[in-house]
């Protein structure tokens, strides 16, 4: 038991009393008192809302056949409006969602338990309250769907369309501050036995999504998170517990986490072996690809926007890599003939979105804007032609196949027309 715990509780209580005091003072309706006047706070004051002038919303579909509105098109995800993003944090309310067709379960945190078992000396059953008593960490990490920015398969049409927005092409990545307990701490408590090499992480959703993750990663930087951006993880993001597996394909970040089984081989769960392997034209599938490669995209100006007049604009965008920190971002305004180093905005954090910018004077002529990033290992974001070469196939394959292109991190060009319109120019 942490001896500081009661002190912290007392502090929180005092903080609440102080907050009540401040509201009372501002209202000026009664003398200052140590009693919180909670009954006098209206709903808007209790939990703030953004201005009704702000229209930025997720787009796409929750992809749940029962919840879909009549005539609502099926999409693979609800995507983050990256064109409106600033800084590196995604509001939890705008975090992308891939639901695999299911509703978020309605979980009572008092009933929820995390079971750690299998090849351990001391199996553990933990409540949310137990986890909140343990030493916590808060870390910024992006989570990205492996199918983000695909050129083919379900959701791929946007990346081929000249009219696509950056939300449609790249909106399946989001970045949050995650707070929770390092999984390594829990595994050490349970005592991992010799011979255990994998964990199976399982959620409490309707299809009990499960995922095999190598033990090395679980002990390295995986996090059992109960908070996101300073509030409890939202139901659609895994309330009350989400496993955060930094830098790895989104599918590993198991929501509604209820069980971790220590085993000695991957367990070939449905998602990881039926939909997520990368099937290449030779008929062979690359399975258990985990780490998302270095990727960047200009979010402003981006597809669907319009530059009203020639003149000054700050080019701004996001870069990230599953391998670590972003070391450099370069921007070209002439279709890749020349490149300039963009400014990286602090903080630059490993496995988190990094904001970059470059001042630019648009002369009113046609321009082709693109960014490419380099991560801390010196790995450079490739062009689509380079990806094709790396895969041993042709660029045509990327628009002709019926499969989602997994882990596609090709450079994204945006074309600025003379009338100021911005178009997707990947193909």
């Amino acid at each position: 038991m942490n001896p500081n715990q009661p002190t912290r509780r007392r502090f929180l209580k005092n903080g609440a009393a102080l907050a009540g005091l401040a509201v009372g003072a501002a209202a000026g309706s009664r003398p200052a008192s140590a009693e919180p006047g909670e009954e006098r706070i209206d709903e808007l004051h209790k939990h703030g809302e953004r201005s009704h002038f702000v229209q930025s919303v997720r787009a796409g579909s929750i992809n749940n056949p029962e919840r879909r509105l009549p005539g609502e098109p099926s999409d693979v995800a609800l995507k983050t409006p990256l064109q409106d993003s600033t800084g590196i944090v995604t509001p939890a309310s705008l975090h992308y969602i891939v639901s695999h067709g299911y509703e978020p379960p309605d979980i009572d945190p008092k009933q929820h338990r995390l079971l750690i078992h299998g090849m351990v000396d001391r199996p553990l059953l933990l409540s949310l309250e137990d986890l909140q008593r343990l030493p916590s960490v808060s870390r910024f990490y992006f989570i990205e769907c492996h199918g983000n920015s695909t050129t083919a398969g379900p959701g791929g049409a946007a990346r081929r369309s000249p009219d696509a927005t950056v939300q449609q092409t790249h909106g399946m990545t989001s970045c949050s501050e995650w707070t929770g307990v390092p999984l390594s701490l829990l595994l050490k408590q349970a005592g991992v036995q010799k011979g255990a090499t994998w964990i199976i992480a399982e959620g409490a959703d309707a299809n009990k999504h499960s995922k095999s993750i190598p033990l090395g990663k679980a002990l390295d930087d995986a996090l059992v998170a109960y908070a996101q951006n300073g509030e409890p993880v939202r139901p659609e993001q895994g309330y009350p517990l989400r496993l955060v597996v930094p830098g790895w394909q989104g599918i590993n970040n198991v929501k509604w986490l209820r069980r971790i089984d220590l085993v000695d081989e991957p367990y070939m769960a449905m998602m990881e072996v039926s939909r997520y392997p990368r099937l290449l034209p030779d008929g062979k599938s690359r399975w258990f690809e985990f780490e998302m490669g270095p990727k960047s995209v200009i979010t402003r100006p981006s597809g669907g926007q319009r530059l009203p007049v020639p003149g000054f604009y700050e080019i701004s965008g996001l870069a990230w890599s599953g391998a670590g920190a972003i070391r450099k971002v370069e921007v070209s305004t002439d279709g890749g003939q020349t490149w300039k180093d963009a400014r990286l905005q602090e903080p630059v954090i490993s496995k988190a979105h990094t904001r970059f910018s470059l001042p630019w004077n648009w002369d009113g002529e046609q321009a082709l804007l693109q960014s490419r990033c380099t991560d801390e290992n010196g790995v450079v974001q490739p062009t689509l032609a380079q990806v094709a070469e790396h895969w041993g196939t042709s660029v045509d394959y990327f628009r002709e196949t019926s499969l989602i292109i997994s882990d596609l991190n090709a450079i994204q060009p945006w074309k600025i027309n003379r009338d100021g319109s911005v178009k997707n120019a990947l193909f």
């Binding site: 038991m1 942490n2 056949p65 079971l115 078992h117 001391r122 199996p123 553990l124 059953l125 933990l126 137990d130 008593r133 343990l134 050490k188 408590q189 090499t197 994998w198 399982e202 309707a206 299809n207 009990k208 499960s210 190598p214 033990l215 090395g216 209820r258 069980r259 089984d261 085993v263 081989e265 991957p266 070939m268 769960a269 449905m270 072996v273 039926s274 939909r275 392997p277 990368r278 099937l279 034209p281 030779d282 062979k284 599938s285 690359r286 399975w287 258990f288 690809e289 780490e291 998302m292 490669g293 599953g322 790995v379 990806v387 895969w391 002709e400 196949t401 019926s402 499969l403 882990d407």
Partner: protein, 195 residues
Amino acid sequence: MRFSKLLAATAVLAASAAAQAQMPSYKNVGRTPTKQQIQAWDISIGPDGKGLPAGSGTAAQGAPIYAAKCAVCHGADAQGGKIGPELAADKAAFKTLTTLKPVRVVSTYWPYATMVWDYINRAMPRNQGGTLTANQVYALTAFILYKGSIIRESDVMDARALPKVQMPNRNGFVPARFSDIPDEHKRGCRQGICP
């Protein structure tokens, strides 16, 4: 090489020593689950069949269960419907995996028959996962494998037989050895893509 191994070993020793030293400070956090609790929650089935329970079923036994519980989403013939994907295709469809429109369904793509049992048991029918008996799950697994021309209608599927079923795409995955999977960098993966 040997030096780095030694370093790693030292790091492991140090880490476990640190864990030992830390442990008393986390006293009374969490409970020890009972054996029954673990058994009730542990639904994972290994590719080798580890965890498969007693029970059995055939495709013939599975047909009426499928018609009653599965056909509404997956189609009368496992051909797929508005809600559920296609489950079984003609054996010739396996050859489409090298084309631009691969038929990637249970019978043509999944490498292990045990996965079929695991997923039906945990997740099916939709929003009613865990309601089928072990016998029903064996029978439904057999039905899908039969529809994919992988086993015969009368073949009995149980904890011994199911792991031995040869799925057509069993050798379609790289790397082939499980022990080669965890270290992506050793595998030569670059930019998130593995060769």
